[in-house]
Symmetry: C2
Subunit: 553 residues, 2 copies
């Protein structure tokens, strides 16, 4: 048994469990989300690794034929450059390397690809703490989110793509003897099928979730036999550089060309994204980022998978107990300072208030309640800083500071929150603005960051109509709804689902609309303007290869 076959056998149980989970959509995660599940000294080692990596050339990547060393990352917690430089390559070098790698990788068996890719994920666990600190000091996520989102949760999504790919790639047999009875004789034809990879994959990363949003496309491209080039956001390279380092090591250890996966670093002032995207050898593009650039990517005559901007709504109608609801909304809006693609921005509340088991709570009291719940969370020194993290970019920080001038009534202004560990952190708590339903020019667009609009409507039907229109026009990744009325639940589900957005009903406690679990929740539906991809439906892998069948007489 050769090395790669051993890897397939080694990881067969994980693969089977992953396929079972995504088929049944049940809870599954082979990578523990608690930092405590890993080596005791891992945190200390990672802190040391981080400090020795800063202000140095990144050594984990092959730098043969590099034409420059680039790096411009700034830690949102320190507000100083982290000083890491990465080897940069010409577009032609990247493409040539990818083409070389593709020719062997595309002929590698599905089982062998599966084995080595799950092995890569297995090896990656040893870097989860390094990845956590790298994520903190590029995205501004607090430690726990950095650890979970870039580590175990991202690897869950990567494994999901591998498992979905494996299932699709095995959905047509390798061969069959086809026999057609023709009356006096049988027509016998031997048939074979191969899932022919489409060609080089480009995955364009974003600055807020440089691993979580990148690895699904990377592993989907790799499992389907395509070499992959990752073009990270120039402000969030380090986390994904570690991933590429580990993938290259695992590929090489199993006898494959490490350049099957490459990192394409560039400068904000001199981007190479369009050069790569438009290169004729690049056949598929995964993208996370602004709608404007996403629309350009979708316009290219290639296979594209996009996640663009969206505006998420909460419809607040009726509840049993208001307090846990307000707490849940406050947390969803504050988590990573509203910089999640799944963070709620617009909260639609009836002017008649919210029905509770103890009677109606007046509209004004609901507005105040939301603000108070946010204040209670962010002012709690044990919870606030760890929930908010830091603001990734200066542009977002500026947007938050200026939000009070957008119009409407300022209910709660953004303020800096003290982070005991990082005195210079760029922090801004959520700003809460009350709007009338007629002020759609303000709330009918994405205001990325911790900006919350409470919109006064004529009732739940009005709230629903406004939220639905917003999804149809601007897209959304998620929608929250609070109602105790069964008919209203059905109505909201039908209306919002018809606009291709999922709804989370009556979330309290540990359930947050922000969270999309791998193997169960589709991240994006792919059906509204927020993007054309979905992690990971069957298309997310099947569009990356072509079934070709030969026939033999």
């Amino acid at each position: 048994m050769n090395t790669t076959m051993r890897l397939f056998e080694k990881h067969k149980a994980t693969l089977d469990a992953a396929i079972k989970a995504l088929t049944e959509r049940t809870y599954f995660s082979p990578y523990p989300e608690s930092p405590k599940a890993y080596a005791e000294d891992a945190d200390a080692k990672a802190k040391f690794w981080m400090s020795s990596t800063m202000n140095n050339n990144f050594q984990g990547l092959n730098n043969e034929h590099a034409n420059a060393w680039l790096g411009e990352e700034v830690s949102p917690f320190l507000q100083v450059g982290i000083g890491v430089q990465y080897p940069a390559f010409s577009v032609e070098t990247l493409i040539n390397n990818a083409q070389d790698a593709q020719s062997a990788w595309s002929k590698t068996s599905i089982d062998d690809r599966t084995g080595v890719l799950i092995e890569c994920l297995d090896q990656l666990k040893s870097r989860f703490f390094d990845i956590a600190y790298a994520t903190m000091h590029t995205t501004g996520q607090a430690f726990m989110m950095s650890f979970q989102a870039s580590g175990p949760h991202a690897s869950d999504r990567a494994l999901e793509a591998v498992a979905m790919g494996y299932r699709e790639l095995k959905s047509v047999p390798e061969q069959v003897d086809w026999i057609k009875p023709m009356g006096k004789f049988d027509l016998k034809i031997h048939k074979t099928w191969i899932p022919q990879p489409k060609g080089i994959s480009l995955v364009i990363g974003c600055s807020t979730f440089p691993i979580w949003n990148t690895v699904p496309g990377v592993f989907a491209a790799l499992i389907t036999g395509n070499a992959c080039i990752i073009k990270p956001h120039p402000k969030a390279v380090l986390p994904i550089a570690i991933v590429v380092e580990e993938l290259q090591k695992s590929l090489a250890a199993a006898g494959f060309n490490p350049k099957t996966i490459q990192l394409a670093v560039d400068k904000s002032a001199e981007p190479i994204t369009k050069l790569l995207a438009e290169h004729k050898a690049v056949k598929m593009i995964d993208y996370t980022g602004s709608s404007e650039f996403g629309n350009y990517i979708e316009s290219l005559p290639k296979t594209t998978f996009t996640e663009k901007a969206g505006v998420n709504s909460i419809i607040l109608d009726s509840v049993t107990d208001l307090k846990p609801v307000l707490g849940n909304i406050a947390f969803s809006a504050s988590l990573y300072s509203g910089q999640m693609c799944t963070a709620p921005q617009n909260i639609f509340v009836s002017k008649h208030g919210v029905q509770t088991s103890e009677g109606i709570v007046a509209y004004e009291d609901v507005v105040k309640g939301i603000a108070d719940a946010i204040t209670g969370l962010i002012d709690n020194p044990k919870a606030g800083p760890g929930t908010l993290g830091a603001i990734q970019s200066e542009a977002t920080h500026k947007r938050v500071q200026e939000a009070k001038n957008l119009g409407g009534t300022l209910i709660l202004d953004s303020k800096p929150i003290k982070n005991e560990e990082f005195a210079d952190a760029r922090i801004a708590s959520p700003v809460v603005i009350e709007l009338d339903k007629t002020q759609s020019d303000i709330f009918n667009r994405e205001c990325f960051g911790p900006i919350v609009f409470i919109i006064k409507t004529d009732g739940v039907e009005d709230s629903l109509a406004l939220a639905k229109k917003l999804v149809q026009e601007k897209g959304a990744l998620t929608c929250g709804a609070y109602t105790t009325d069964e008919t209203t639940i059905t109505r909201i589900a039908e209306e919002m689902n018809s606009a291709f957005v999922p709804v989370s009903f009556n979330f309290t406690g540990a359930g947050f609309i922000n969270s999309h679990a791998a193997f169960s929740d589709f991240h994006l539906t792919g059906g509204n303007p927020a993007g054309n991809a979905s992690f990971a439906n069957s298309e997310f892998v099947s569009k990356r290869f072509v079934w070709v069948g030969n026939r033999y007489m």
Copy 2:
């Protein structure tokens, strides 16, 4: 048990057998392809039906709100107009009807849709002879092809789409209780998923295969919950009009809105295709026809499934026995006068001739052999007329007559063949032209109709390179190859497959490269310029709906 549930139970065995077949890619057809398998008086009744239908208004379709009666079909066998007029509707009427129908159909359960759609196909069997004559007198196909391609083989493809749809629609559960262990407690979320239909489907038919190329898209759209509008080619309406009549009857009988499927007839001089295609309510388009219009369809911001022009090649290298090979090629090139999308146009032969078990046959003798085999077939009064059928359009007929002026050496000129039954039939036998490999300006494009180029190359590697380049530039649906050398088989397969075209090796006897069998052969790969669709891979159905999941606490 209600009617539709009974229909699902009635057809469950057929559904299961269809899913099994398309999973294993084995031979399967629930609709017998032999006319003898049907009622004894069916042929006579159909002849009577055809003569009473000609020169009349077509009565099988609802004509409420029709704004005109249109019809301009000409029988290629009679070369006179068949005089059938069909009710025509405004684009707005068609769209409004479709929207009405969609709202109920999209909420119909997957099982109920499946039951009634297979019932439709069951009922359609009673019209196979009517369909055969309607197909003859619009497309020019001879009786047997008209019967098989428009009847049982088309229904096989329709059932294949239903079965593939059913499998995909059931690939995610309707609901699950998702339970995540959180240490001290479990996080429990109830989740549901629906496959939300994208919206109105438009299927644009072609003049040569008005049913076979239309019903896969129609049934794929319907099984996934989308109302469908068929825009037939104005010169080939009658066959698909019968299908729509029967579908509407079966839908109505089961209590559904018959306008879930509609026929949108127009005039060549006043086409409505673009108006329908660009209508914002139309979300998906299936198209068969020219590359120019197909490229326009693909450029629309919609879900599209196209089959465009392609150039199919045969690589003739080495054989055991040349005679059956030449006979097979002659038949493939002559069947329906080369008007099949899978007909071979370019035959690449080495200047060094063809190796056989009895020694090398010189290139010149191979060229003569191909011409002789065609002459032998078409001059046989029992085989010729039934193989050739008639030429569908005057444009194709003209192209064939003028082919000898394209350049190259005329090996065999096209000639009229006598059809005992139809003295006025528009018939043209294949023209065979010999070209040098340098004359790619002539052979490197589709010359639709019975036009065969034999291209003299420097050897099998040269033949392969030319054939591959052609696929990459112009696309192809199929490729034939004759070689007794295992290494060459592997090489041709790898090279042509890398250009996303399938290869049929060493076909003789009853195996023809023209034939693509439902449940087993993918018709098109979707990966080369001949089209972006494939009948019926998982994408052919999954791109027609969106998974949307709701979560409940």
